[in-house]
């Protein structure tokens, strides 16, 4: 495998190490993601996939190593500043805001791209009104239509099925206007139809919008179908990386998965 020219790299992770107390979650992981691709992170439970995602999103601070996003070292950038740079994510165990409607949850995603301050909010000035109207139109056109959730707009998220909640989470992540989208098990727990829909959405996001996607998934079929590149983690270490076919043929990967649930 030849390494891609640096200009094409959206995300480059070098020797990332993270531990909690004495427990090592990541032991020097490297990852390179090229623009406009879908990359998969796979590995048995406890391999450090979600930890890696949490480092990229800024929720965990790695002890050593570097995370470079679009040429900029973001290792020390606080989590709350990362969405404005073009990073968005979904969560493994859905983290929607239960007290808000679907529409407000999605609008919340755009938070860091909006500017209304407290005073103009209280007075609902012309600027605040214009910003909200533009946002509503953007959300309707680019997200609600696209993800086919017109009928859910005013529902409270708590009343939705698991599959629909995952879809709303994706909608909220899209409202963050990401250039790199991190998806933590986007189809876990879905039925076949929901899985197909979600896979189609992910492909469309990549192909039509040019968004780069990194996803964690246990369903090997889906990973093999969607991903251009797959990285395998085991016990916090990268044990293989390459195209889906290459990874599938790698004897070490087979060994790591033996006896674990990942066959899918």
């Amino acid at each position: 495998m030849t390494s891609p020219p640096a200009s094409e790299l959206v995300l480059s992770i070098e020797q990332l190490a993270l531990s909690f107390g004495g427990v090592r979650a990541l032991a020097g992981v490297d990852l390179q993601v090229r623009r406009g691709t879908i990359s998969g992170l796979i590995g048995p439970n406890g391999a450090g996939k979600t930890s890696l995602l949490n480092c990229i999103a800024g929720f965990y601070r790695p002890q050593s190593g570097r995370i470079v996003f679009e040429g900029r070292d973001i290792t020390r950038v606080p989590a709350a500043r990362r969405p404005a740079l073009g990073l968005a994510r979904t969560f493994q165990n859905i983290a929607l805001f239960a007290g808000m409607t679907v529409l407000d949850n999605i609008k919340l995603g755009a938070h860091c791209h909006l500017e209304t301050g407290v005073l103009s909010a209280l007075a609902f000035t012309a600027e605040a009104r214009a910003e909200e109207e533009a946002l509503r139109e953007e959300v309707e056109r680019d997200i609600i239509d696209f993800l086919e959730i017109e009928h859910l707009r005013n529902r409270s998220v708590a009343s939705l099925s698991y599959g629909l909640q995952k879809r709303v989470e994706l909608a909220r992540a899209l409202a963050m206007r990401p250039r790199l989208l991190l998806l933590d098990e986007p189809i876990a727990g879905m039925n076949e139809e929901e899985t197909e829909d979600m896979a189609r959405f992910i492909l469309d996001i990549q192909e039509e919008r040019g968004v780069t996607v990194v996803l964690i998934e246990h369903d090997m079929g889906v990973v093999m179908d969607l991903c251009d590149q797959v990285t395998v983690l085991s016990f916090g270490e990268q044990i293989a990386a390459g195209t889906p076919a290459e990874v599938q043929a790698n004897p070490e990967v087979v060994r790591a998965y033996l006896g674990t649930s990942g066959g899918g």
Partner: protein, 295 residues
């Protein structure tokens, strides 16, 4: 120096009583995660139970104490079963408010049953003050302090050496695991309210014997917040240390600062300044558990 000793010792006496009140509070917080704003009113009820037994039914003090404990146990069990169990898993604001609501109800009921007047306990203890070297303790303070101390020792023993105590400690440590080990969590919750109410009742009697009782006695309940924050919300040992420290601090502030600012009541407010300081520096207190953030 003698003056300092005198102030410090009466601080320890106040502190011992604070410690007893705080332990009742911590028991509930530790086992159920509830901040009990009705602690003061549980004290007040307990004190009235004992007072009624002594002043109205003319029973001896020991019997009155026992009856107060039993009555408080009943109230504690009722409160847990009827009000707090349906609130399980609600937001902290709701749980705080429900205990505040309860405290208003208790205060109202006490006013209806016993009236609003101020009452004092019949004389119980020998009048002779206790002398500890240069320090003189009036018997009205010394004896209740000894009762508080005995109650604290008893509670500590209960936690350490009985099966129920072990179950309570296990539940406080990890609810899910305790449940998995076959501990009946609902019984633990219920028992911790009973125990907290009994503790509060004893504390109420102690406070009432020293200073008399009225439906307003529950206001003392506010004083436990500096104590439990200093000691750590979930630490019984912390409640003990916190109680003594705050008692001494309050008496020192009263002894040395109040004469400089007459009428300012620095004694009353000093613990709350300390409280703010502790929250800024070390919110989990001396012996409390530091909460770990999770997604």
């Amino acid at each position: 120096m003698d003056e300092f000793l005198q102030i410090a010792v009466s601080g320890v006496v106040t502190g011992g009583i604070y410690a007893l009140i705080a332990i009742g509070f911590v028991i509930v917080y530790k086992a159920t995660g509830v901040i009990n704003f009705a602690t003061g009113e549980l004290m007040m009820l307990g004190a009235f139970f004992a007072w009624t037994a002594m002043a109205v039914a003319k029973l001896p003090f020991a019997v009155a104490l026992l009856l107060a404990a039993l009555g408080a146990a009943g109230v504690g069990a009722l409160v847990e079963r009827v009000v707090l169990r349906p609130m399980l898993g609600q937001r902290p604001i709701s749980i705080i408010m429900v205990t505040i609501g309860l405290s208003a109800v208790f205060k109202g009921i006490a006013q209806v049953v016993w009236g609003g007047e101020y009452r004092s306990f019949p004389a119980i203890f020998p009048r002779k003050p206790i002398e500890l070297g240069p320090v003189i303790l009036p018997s009205r303070q010394a004896w209740p302090f000894l009762i508080a101390l005995a109650a604290i020792v008893l509670l500590a023993a209960l936690f350490r050496f009985t099966r129920t105590g072990t179950a309570m400690r296990a539940t406080a440590n990890d609810q899910a695991t305790a449940f998995g080990m076959g501990i009946d969590i609902r019984r633990v919750f219920s028992f911790s309210w009973v125990l907290a109410a009994v503790t509060a009742a004893l504390a109420g009697v102690v406070v009432g014997v020293i200073g008399g009782i009225s439906p307003q006695l529950g206001a003392v309940g506010l004083r436990i917040f500096p104590v439990v924050i200093l000691g750590g919300l979930d630490s019984i040992g912390g409640a003990l240390v916190g109680g003594v420290v705050m008692g001494v601090l309050e008496n020192l502030a009263g002894g040395y600062l109040d004469p400089l600012f007459p009428g300012a009541g620095i004694k009353e407010v000093a613990p709350f300044f300390a409280l703010v300081l502790i929250l800024m520096v070390r919110p989990w207190g001396l012996f409390g558990t530091r909460e770990i953030e999770r997604l």
